[in-house]
């Protein structure tokens, strides 16, 4: 490898001086446009360091001449977004939840907002499609333990289920019939047979006929004489095809032996009443929502006394 610089005749350009098998490399200078672009990037970089926060120091980075920062920009965006949403949020806040459906615009906004809140707070248990899983109710269906109208949903979300720290929580206790020795193991099996008969999974048998009596004595108080459930106690309907934990023999045996006591957090205090209202609207919109029952006469009188002036012109 000879190191001999020379001028290449045809091109008039100096070679770099290396030679491999008779092939030489021309020392062609960088194109001017390339150099100028390069210098421009340097100037740009310096400008960038001056204008934006860039150099780290002990107490933080340099501020940049305009004091811009991505955190600041984010805060501004969030504030603007908050201001944009404020009117509709406050309208939702002052509207009683059962009146939302009458105002499609508010209802729509509530459902959207509820969907967003749901993705943050509820999907962990109820799943992203709100279809639940074993032990966590499917919110798309029309089977409600405690009721599926807007007002009830709002109450459930606010106070939770069997929440130990919440005085007004939804509460119900099913005895652990086997564990506590109320029923013997064969009796539990008979009850299971009966439940599977009324839910259409098994045919009548001697066992189920024995179970019928046991059911009437022990279970009908909460689940109703026909096993159709009672919402006051959050007692599930045992005659439909929907099971929170499962309708097979094994699961039912476990349920009756040990009872089930699912807990849902009370969201009061964690989420604003408006967010809870929006969550209820979203859950209601999933297809199983029920119409709000007409209020009892006494309640109507109260509501009219309190909210009539505000509500009347709006309708």
């Amino acid at each position: 490898m000879a190191e001999q610089k020379r001028i290449d005749q045809p091109t008039g350009t100096e070679t770099v001086g290396h030679e491999w098998d008779g092939i030489e490399e021309l020392n062609t200078p960088l194109p001017r446009w390339w150099l100028w672009t390069f210098y421009a990037t340097i100037v740009f970089a310096i400008g960038y360091v001056v204008v934006y926060p860039a150099l780290p120091g002990l107490t933080g980075a340099t501020k940049g001449v305009f004091g811009w920062s991505s955190r600041g920009a984010l805060a501004e965006t969030m504030e603007a977004e908050g201001a944009r949403k404020a009117p509709i949020l406050s309208a939702i806040a002052v509207t009683p939840i059962e009146q939302l459906p009458a105002k499609p615009e508010l209802m729509n906004a509530a459902v959207q907002g509820g969907a967003a809140a749901f993705r943050t707070h509820c999907v962990q248990c109820h799943g992203s499609g709100a279809s639940g899983s074993k032990g966590y109710p499917n919110l798309n269906d029309d089977d409600w333990l405690w009721g599926g109208d807007l007002k009830t949903l709002e109450y459930t979300i606010t106070h939770g289920i069997r929440n130990p720290d919440e005085a007004e929580t939804r509460n119900s206790l099913m005895p652990a019939f086997g564990h506590d020795g109320i029923l013997t193991a064969p009796q539990v099996q008979d009850t299971v047979s009966f439940v599977r008969v009324i839910s259409g999974q098994e045919k009548q048998s001697a066992s189920s006929r024995r179970g019928a009596a046991l059911f009437e004595a022990n279970c009908a108080v909460c689940h109703g004489p026909q096993g159709k459930g009672m919402r006051e106690f959050g007692a599930p309907n045992l005659t439909d095809g929907i099971w929170l934990y499962g309708g097979d023999r094994e699961t039912l045996t476990q349920t009756i032996n040990n009872s089930r006591r699912g807990v849902m957090p009370a969201w009061r205090g964690h989420l604003s009443p408006t967010t809870i209202k929006m969550l209820a609207a979203y859950v209601h919109s999933r297809g199983g929502g029920e119409a709000t029952p007409p209020p009892a006469p006494v309640e109507t009188a109260q509501a009219e006394g309190g909210a009539a002036p505000a509500a009347a012109p709006a309708n």
Partner: protein
């Protein structure tokens, strides 16, 4: 730094340095045709956005409008929705086939007359001639030192160019918004930033491409010449120098001193070269730089008139004709040269696409339904054992008035449906909604059907506008049930 120039100037240089082109003024039938095309195309470009077209209260009254925000394309009485983009695709294909047709018939005529680059370059050159004088004056001015007078002349030329460029770039944005409104907003500083940005970019590209790059665009930057060159064959009419008639060329004393008969008709006056907007010498044979503008024909015909020789030393001719002429046979009539299988096939194709699109436009429905099944969850078992699926249904009302539409179930016996905003109590076989003018209405719909049935049962959503006899559309879907094993 100097060695850069050494390379480009050296005999082995890779790059040819640009030679400035100062095309000379010329007159003749082709030049006049070029004027006409220029006038027509520029008028179309500048006037179109200002044509009004009354579409009633719910739609814009601009005849040609690309409404990006609402994703509509309006063209007189035709309105194209994004899902009908195939009409635009069809137009583009027609433009392509049309280009094939023109090219296979008469060479790069698109380049020579109608291409925006050509039109604006031509316009700029007229400005240049008007301000600085014709070719020779321009060359003199170009070589002259930078005196005050030259600076003034350059400034005034660039100013006029910039003005034209601004009018060009500015006109573009009017295709995308209501022209009078945008015009007002533009001058009062209230137009959206994108309007100013677009105007600026197009002004600068017009200024640079039309004023400075000119033939460089046609020769080096544009991909069309390569494609178009492949489209021409020995039967295409292209601008040709008839060398068997012109050669050997000579001029001046040499020609006068000897026997005229030794020489061809070309007197080497270089008129054809001087008028050429791409600065080439057509006498060197067909070449990629030629945009078939035929200005050299105009120039040479004049010369032939002066020296009393027949016109057409440079002429529109096919290669086959040239061969015939060289053998002394009569040329084929122009009409026979144009009507040949290849052009006829292109023409037939072009017409077929056009007719098909017209037919489709005439019979297209102005109503549409598109259903999108929920997949999370796919189905829900309800407490009475029935199964529920959900769909997001989009109803398109493509007319300029609000219309009532009825969605109904076709098939799926026993099924009923209700809107998300209602509850199951209102479930029915059909739902009637009002869809606003020119809009898409989205409805989340729940469909409940008995549990008995196949895991995937085919059915369809139908939609009908107004009462009986209204427009109809349907969308085939399947209803999903849990598999037996569950």
């Amino acid at each position: 730094m100097n060695s850069m120039n050494d390379i480009t100037d050296s005999p082995l240089g890779v790059y040819q340095k640009r030679k400035a082109v100062f095309p000379k003024q010329v007159d003749g039938p082709f030049r006049r045709f070029k004027w006409l095309v220029m006038a027509v195309t520029l008028t179309i470009y500048w006037v179109t956005p200002w044509i009004r077209w009354d579409r009633g209260p719910h739609a814009p009254d601009q005849a040609v409008l690309i409404d990006l925000a609402n994703r509509r394309f309006f063209m007189f009485s035709i309105e194209i929705w994004p899902h009908e983009f195939y009409y635009v695709a069809g137009l583009l294909i027609m433009a392509g086939v049309g280009l094939f047709l023109v090219t296979s018939a008469v060479g790069r005529a698109w380049c020579g007359y109608a291409c925006p680059q050509t039109v604006w370059t031509d316009l700029f050159q007229h400005v240049e001639r008007f301000l600085d004088g014709d070719r020779n004056a321009q060359i003199r001015l170009d070589r002259a030192p930078w005196t005050a007078s030259k600076v003034w002349k350059r400034m005034r030329k660039w100013a006029v160019w910039l003005l034209i460029s601004f009018a060009t770039g500015g006109a573009w944005i009017f295709y995308f918004a209501d022209a009078p409104t945008l015009q007002h907003a533009f001058w009062t500083g209230q137009a959206p930033f994108v309007a100013y940005g677009t105007t600026f970019v197009l002004t600068m590209t017009t200024f640079i491409l039309g004023g400075f790059m000119r033939e460089q665009v046609c020769i080096y930057m544009c991909p069309w010449p390569r494609i178009q060159a492949a489209m021409t064959d020995e039967k295409s009419l292209i601008v040709t120098y008839k060398h068997w008639r012109g050669e050997p060329r000579s001029h001046g004393k040499k020609r006068a001193a000897s026997d005229e008969a030794h020489f061809g008709d070309c007197i080497d006056c270089l008129q054809c070269v001087q008028v050429c907007p791409t600065g080439i010498d057509i006498r060197e044979g067909p070449q990629i730089g030629c945009i078939t503008c035929a200005l050299c024909i105009d120039a040479c015909d004049k010369v032939m008139d002066q020296i009393d020789r027949p016109r057409g030393l440079i002429d529109y001719a096919t290669e086959l004709d040239c061969e015939r002429e060289m053998r002394g046979e009569a040329p084929v009539p122009a009409i026979r040269r144009l009507l040949r299988p290849r052009t006829l096939v292109y023409f037939g194709l072009w017409c077929a696409i056009g007719v098909a699109m017209l037919f489709a436009l005439g019979t297209r429905a102005r109503i549409d339904i598109a259903a999108n099944a929920d997949r999370n969850p796919e189905y829900v078992r309800l407490s009475d054992g029935s199964i529920r699926n959900a769909w997001l249904i989009k109803l398109r009302n493509m007319e300029n008035r609000p219309r009532e539409m009825t969605i109904a179930l076709e098939g799926l016996p026993g099924a009923r449906m209700w809107k998300e905003s209602d509850t199951r109590e209102s479930a029915a076989r059909s739902i009637t909604v009002e869809v606003p003018a020119d809009q898409v209405l989205k409805e989340h719909i729940y469909v409940v059907a008995p549990a008995a049935g196949s895991a995937r049962e085919d059915f369809a959503f139908t939609v009908q506008a107004g009462g009986d006899g209204g427009e109809k559309a349907r969308d085939a879907e399947s209803f999903v049930r849990p598999e037996e094993s569950e």
